[in-house]
Symmetry: C2
């Protein structure tokens, strides 16, 4: 006893010793009533200070693991864990269809994993080397010195008030009329979209969206057992005739669109098209969920207002925003801007799911934004990704032959091959150390087997060239 303990002097010693003795007691290696070595003996034996042992015993006593008899020493309490008969459950049989479906649709679990040395075009996560960590740190220190421990205690489901106020103004600056509307802070787009579907749809309801579209959105719609109708994409974005026809034919509960740097095609919907889209959906009274995805990154064309701006004081567009596609995704902060009354329901749903989004993160993020750091960052990020996009598109056109290439900017481009299976292509490229995202996962109808997405935010220009060259060569071989 005590001979096999290995103490790591870099970690608090009393904790290691406490955990060691606790373990011995709970597992019955030290039995009830047994006397522990005196603090002096143990200090000598382990060559650590006697105060450390006293502190350790004090902790063990606090936790009810030992008791002290005055003048006689420390004794082990009767607290050994009394392991019961083994009882196993076959969880694979117990889980429900939702869990089964969630795992089946969890593409991370089935896709090709990145290995060291590979060039991966899978990710569209931003390059964290661009993050302005110094000012983030400053904002953290501001918050802590301003709010102290309060910011680490419970907050409100709707979100951190100053952040909500900031975002209402921010949306106002996009031309959105925020009167009669309110904001709910969510754990990113994903939670925002999930909450909206949870509160507005029922199993079997019909929803309409672009085809292809954001894979996470498809996953969430499927998990809500919705009936998804996809609308074809042209080179200028959604096909409005197709949209009109399908709206004439069926009754839809909701519509979902990504007007800026559409994922996965990278197409930006023109102001004219946004207006027409809005009016078509108004005619059919189908509310619009607008995904503000990467809208902040826009750099190629004239300013384009979100669809939410077109509706003026009307309440039929639900806007889901998130900086986190380009800035600090790890914080998981997004928002829903919608009718005040509807936000009330969404807030209650949010409270029943996770009480609220981290108040510390919200407060630090808010301070960071208010100091004007986002503007500085976005200026740098736009330039960086614009340059990257231009490199990527040029190289794609050079190497990726016999294909149509889509994308007007943002963090990815999209490729449509001429009748070649992109999963077959992926397999061949993978064996040469290059991976990307097969396009079929973005399709609502099993289509897109000859498409794929190339994300480039964190790939060096050299690797983009190397990777695209290999992809091009493998395409050639498949013809």
């Amino acid at each position: 006893m005590f001979f096999d303990i290995k103490l790591d002097k870099k970690r608090p010693v009393y904790i290691q010793l406490k955990d060691y003795i606790k373990n011995m007691i709970l597992r019955g290696m030290l039995t009830a009533g047994e006397k522990l070595p005196s603090t002096r003996e143990l200090a000598l034996m382990l060559k650590i200070s006697r105060n450390t042992i006293i502190y350790t015993y004090d902790f063990l006593q606090d936790e009810g693991l030992i008791y002290i008899k005055r003048g006689r020493g420390a004794f082990v309490s009767d607290v050994k864990v009394d392991f019961q008969k083994k009882w196993d459950i076959n969880w694979d049989e117990r889980i429900n269809n939702y869990a089964r479906e969630a795992e089946k649709l969890d593409i991370i679990k089935s896709e090709i994993k990145w290995e060291k040395g590979m060039i991966s075009f899978k990710s569209i996560a931003p390059d964290d080397k661009l993050f302005d960590v110094e000012n983030f740190k400053k904002s953290f220190l501001n918050c802590i010195s301003r709010e102290g421990g309060k910011i680490l205690n419970y907050g409100y489901a709707q979100g951190y008030k100053p952040l909500i106020e900031y975002l209402l103004k921010y949306m106002g600056n996009k031309g959105v009329d925020t009167s009669g509307k309110d904001i709910l802070i969510t754990n990113g787009f994903t939670e925002g979209f999930d909450l909206i579907l949870s509160c507005l749809t029922n199993e079997g309801d019909k929803v309409i969206c672009e085809n292809p579209t954001h894979n996470t959105a498809i996953k969430i719609m499927r998990l809500h057992k919705l009936n998804i109708t996809g609308i074809d994409m042209e080179s200028t974005g959604i096909n409005l005739n197709d949209l009109s026809q399908k709206l004439d034919r069926d009754k839809f509960k909701l519509s979902y669109f990504i007007p800026s740097y559409h994922n996965p095609t990278g197409i930006v919907m023109s102001p004219k098209k946004r207006t027409e889209l809005y009016n078509i959906l108004r005619k059919h009274n189908v509310p619009i969920v607008e995904d503000g995805f990467n809208e902040e990154l826009r750099y190629l064309s004239d300013h384009v207002s979100p669809i939410a701006a077109l509706s003026g004081s009307g309440n039929s567009v639900l806007y889901i925003g998130s900086f986190s596609k380009i800035l600090f995704p790890g914080l998981r902060i997004g928002w829903i801007l919608a009718d005040k009354n509807l936000i009330g329901y969404l807030e209650s749903a949010k409270r029943s799911r996770n009480i609220h989004t981290s108040f510390l993160d919200q407060a630090v993020f808010c301070d960071y934004l208010r100091e004007g750091n986002f503007e500085k960052y976005i200026k740098k990020a736009r330039k960086f990704y614009k340059d990257k996009y231009e490199v990527a598109i040029k190289l794609a056109e050079k190497y990726i032959i016999r294909s149509r290439i889509y994308g007007e900017g943002g963090l990815h481009i999209f490729v449509k091959l001429d009748n070649i299976n992109s999963r077959k292509l992926l397999e061949n490229c993978c064996s040469r150390g290059v991976i990307f995202t097969p396009g079929d996962i973005f399709y609502t109808d099993g289509g897109g087997k000859d498409t794929f997405r190339l994300g480039f935010p964190r790939v060096s220009n050299e690797d983009i060239e190397k990777g695209f060259k290999i992809i091009g060569e493998e395409i050639k071989k498949l013809y």
Copy 2:
């Protein structure tokens, strides 16, 4: 134009000016093709540096709001928001039953609000003055200097690896055999419980739990449309005969218990009772969801291991842990310890809901724990809340007459009146500036109308006395 702009010199001026001009353009107050004042003119007019104006125009150009003609100046782009016909939706009619139910069960929306000057026994949130903000700050700075921007980028659904490792060891130290098990990091208990029900239950399934029990748990079970069977509580905790009988009678999908400082009664289930409970549920093969609620705070009795420890290497107990009832609730960090295979499904469900819990928060929290700060904090917190509890229980026994008082420690006590309606009592107390939580919200069957909970972690000893005295006087009046 530009005359009504009010610049706040404490905030970045170029942002205010940019937002002002952007607004004018989007709302059509500056029209397409209109020439903006030269940078020199505007600088003079607004009495700010010309560089600020140049920087502002640069931003506006970046966003496609203005264009520069070389040698001729800056002109407004054709980007005015073209407001469309107003389109309103009656959201109250559009929301589904889930949303309606979520709002109905959202007690925060119906309960009496705290007003200045009131003594409130409603909250069981910890006192943030105890939080060790200095060491938390240190941990934040450690993380940032070690991981840089990486910690602000996307992470993994299961959680931050070092935190998972820490918690596996932590659970091991509670006597839990973690072989074949794994951990999923969640946004607190609430998300953990919601995920478990999402993956394991279907509408109409029967679940069994203590009656009364944690109100949030009841809310989540109701939102999953489960059929809840409550088991009576005695002064030593759950009535095992009642439990056995009900298990004999019906088939249950899951069971849910709070063995330590049970919410709301404050009762600690004895080791003997835990063992019996475990074996009864094993006999009926009904998995156990154990809520580790405030287990860390235990200070009055001998050490008691969680039920999860009794199962040894068996996989039938799902343990939901959270320090956040006592430490940093605002971060929303909790965990599920369960069968590895089951954790895989829960992880996929989590990814489809919000991708992951804030990686920054997880990393900072992990560093904080590893430095041994939790042990130091808990020592202080145990002492603080023990003293508070002792004051509260003594004063309750003195003033709150003709009632049974429950609670062996923790952050609250529970009172059962002798046939007096606690909402009536609350009304009367409220008019004298004292509020508490009526007990009926904790009951699964509409019972508990003569009970209430008194939370005291953030009430001063003087206010506890003042408040309890008023409650006692109002009880007297009602007899």
